[in-house]
């Protein structure tokens, strides 16, 4: 991989959540997935939303993306309320969701075509985005010939090409093997350092959150709410700071232990025997994977 990257100027947007609540209809009434979430995300910040399954972290991301509307409160991006999806907030999912009937180049060009960008401008912008994720050589490859990691880098290029202020990522690396993931951590960190975008990154993996985030927002479940905010004060790039990442991960893991145990009690049948806290149970949710 390329060496350390200099921090570029900040081009990201600021995101504010003010008393955000989200209810979903459920058996015999409504269930509250998110309750009174207040959060200020600075322009250019790398923020990780961390929590066990069912804590509403993906729901929160959907609200910022504009795919869903809050039941109460407001989501503001650069001071303006979010009305719906927009090219200023692109989303990456766990599945790359590249379209198999298009080549990689056409996939990356797709959002620009939707926005009506001039054809003469699309070519160079696609090239720049693909070079940024080191995939330019594969521009004309059919999607199915790419590996899982390459597909996810392709999805990153497609997210970057619209030059969004905010990059929303919903467990984008969860389906990849550990080695590929480590490479992508570095690539994402470099892209973030050089472009200065705001990144909101959802994960259930503690080590991933510590490896990438400026700040980690730990969510609690039922209803989803902010439990703790942790500043990650490790130098960047963090590829070489594995030891520090591991140490801090253990600390964060401790914070989460009883939350995981609580989720497990609620999800398991009555007869199910709990293991030691954070032991087998930790694995079940993939918490602290790679520790």
């Amino acid at each position: 991989m390329s060496g350390p990257v200099a921090r570029g100027p900040i081009s990201g947007a600021s995101v504010s959540l003010r008393g955000v609540r989200k209810d979903f209809p459920s058996r015999g009434g409504v269930s509250t997935t998110l309750e009174a979430v207040d959060l200020e995300i600075k322009a250019g910040e790398f923020l990780c939303l961390l929590g066990p399954s069912g804590c509403g972290k993906s729901t929160l991301l959907n609200l910022i993306a504009g795919l869903d509307r809050p039941s109460g409160g407001a989501v503001l991006v650069n001071g303006g309320e979010v009305q719906g999806p927009g090219p200023d907030r692109t989303v990456m999912f766990q599945d790359p969701a590249l379209y198999p009937w298009l080549s990689l180049r056409q996939n990356v060009a797709f959002p620009l075509e939707l926005q009506g960008v001039a054809a003469s401008e699309i070519g160079p912008r696609v090239e720049r985005a693909l070079r940024m994720v080191h995939l330019w050589r594969f521009a004309d490859a059919p999607i199915h010939t790419l590996s899982g990691g390459m597909k996810q880098r392709g999805a990153l290029a497609r997210s970057l090409v619209s030059e969004p202020g905010t990059l929303l990522m919903d467990e984008p690396f969860a389906a990849l093997d550990a080695q590929t993931r480590d490479v992508l951590y570095s690539e994402l960190e470099n892209v973030w350092l050089s472009t200065g975008k705001t990144v909101i990154f959802v994960t259930h993996n503690v080590r991933e959150a510590v490896r990438l985030g400026d700040r980690i927002v730990v969510l609690a479940t039922r209803p989803g709410r902010i439990r703790k905010v942790i500043e990650v004060d490790l130098p960047r790039p963090r590829a070489d700071a594995e030891r520090n990442v591991s140490l801090l991960s253990a600390v964060v893991m401790n914070e989460l232990r009883d939350e995981i145990a609580r989720v497990q009690r609620e999800e398991a049948d009555d007869a199910w025997e709990m293991g030691p806290p954070g032991g087998a149970g930790g694995h079940r949710f993939g918490m602290g994977g790679g520790l």
């Binding site: 993306a65 504009g66 795919l67 999806p85 927009g86 090219p87 907030r89 692109t90 989303v91 999912f93 599945d95 969701a97 379209y99 198999p100 009937w101 797709f110 959002p111 075509e113 939707l114 926005q115 059919p142 999607i143 199915h144 010939t145 497609r158 619209s162």
Partner: protein, 238 residues
């Protein structure tokens, strides 16, 4: 080859009036080729088929898109469409003849009713079976309404739609033959009927062979190729 040999062998033991051998059939085919009736019949049948199929694409396409995009429309029309599917298309012929007379319009009517519903059902099912994430991703990139259908939903559903188009082609072909055979003048179906009236078994079998060959060649030249290129593109080949 094997089939032809067995056929030749079997025909030696049976009255050629009832079961003509390959030689008789080949000479009947040659006669029809020479007097031009085979060619003009094929041309006429094909013109009707293409026109009917094109109409079916239009009708079925609109119906299918409406069903896929509006839950209310699907619920309102679903039972009717499934019910009509259960009715063999040739049953529409009497109605078509009453409405349009002994004309090409009656035949087109039968073809459209025979194949458009299958197309509509394939489009509806295809659009509903695509991965929801394809649509979510497209929405975050700003696609909505018709653009969403044109650029994402229909391409994603195309493999399934193609299967429907292929079946609809076969249905159109059958409806056409049934119509020509029963009432309408000209075309391969009528050539078949003339053979029956004259008791010319060789001609009957010759025309049947031509119909099979035409079906096989459109299948191989158009649909099989389209489907194969699609499978390669999507990486579905083993």
């Amino acid at each position: 080859m094997v089939i032809a040999l067995v056929w030749a062998a079997a025909s030696r033991f049976v009255d050629p009036e009832v079961f003509p051998g390959p030689r008789l059939v080949a000479s009947a085919l040659y006669d029809r080729l020479r007097d031009g009736s085979l060619f003009s019949s094929v041309a006429l049948s094909f013109r009707r088929l293409l026109l009917g199929y094109a109409l079916s694409l239009g009708v079925g396409g609109v119906l299918g898109l409406l069903m896929a995009s509006s839950e209310r429309f699907r619920q309102a029309t679903g039972p009717a469409i499934t019910g009509l599917q259960a009715l063999p298309s040739v049953c529409w012929l009497p109605l078509g003849l009453l409405w349009f007379g002994l004309s090409d319009a009656a035949i087109l009517f039968v073809i459209v009713l025979g194949s458009s519903l299958g197309i509509a059902i394939a489009i509806d099912a295809g659009c509903r079976n695509i991965p929801p994430l394809f649509v979510r991703a497209a929405r975050t990139m700003g696609a909505r309404g018709l653009t969403l259908y044109r650029r994402v939903i229909l391409p994603a559903a195309f493999p399934e739609i193609l299967t429907g188009l292929r079946l609809a082609w076969a249905f159109a072909w059958r409806s056409l033959m049934a119509g020509e055979l029963l009432f309408v003048t000209g075309g391969l179906g009528q050539l078949l009927e003339v053979g029956r009236e004259l008791g010319d078994m060789a001609q009957v079998v010759a025309v049947m062979l031509v119909i099979v060959m035409l079906g096989l060649s459109t299948e191989h030249l158009i649909f099989a190729r389209l489907q194969e290129s699609l499978r390669v593109r999507w990486g579905l080949t083993r």
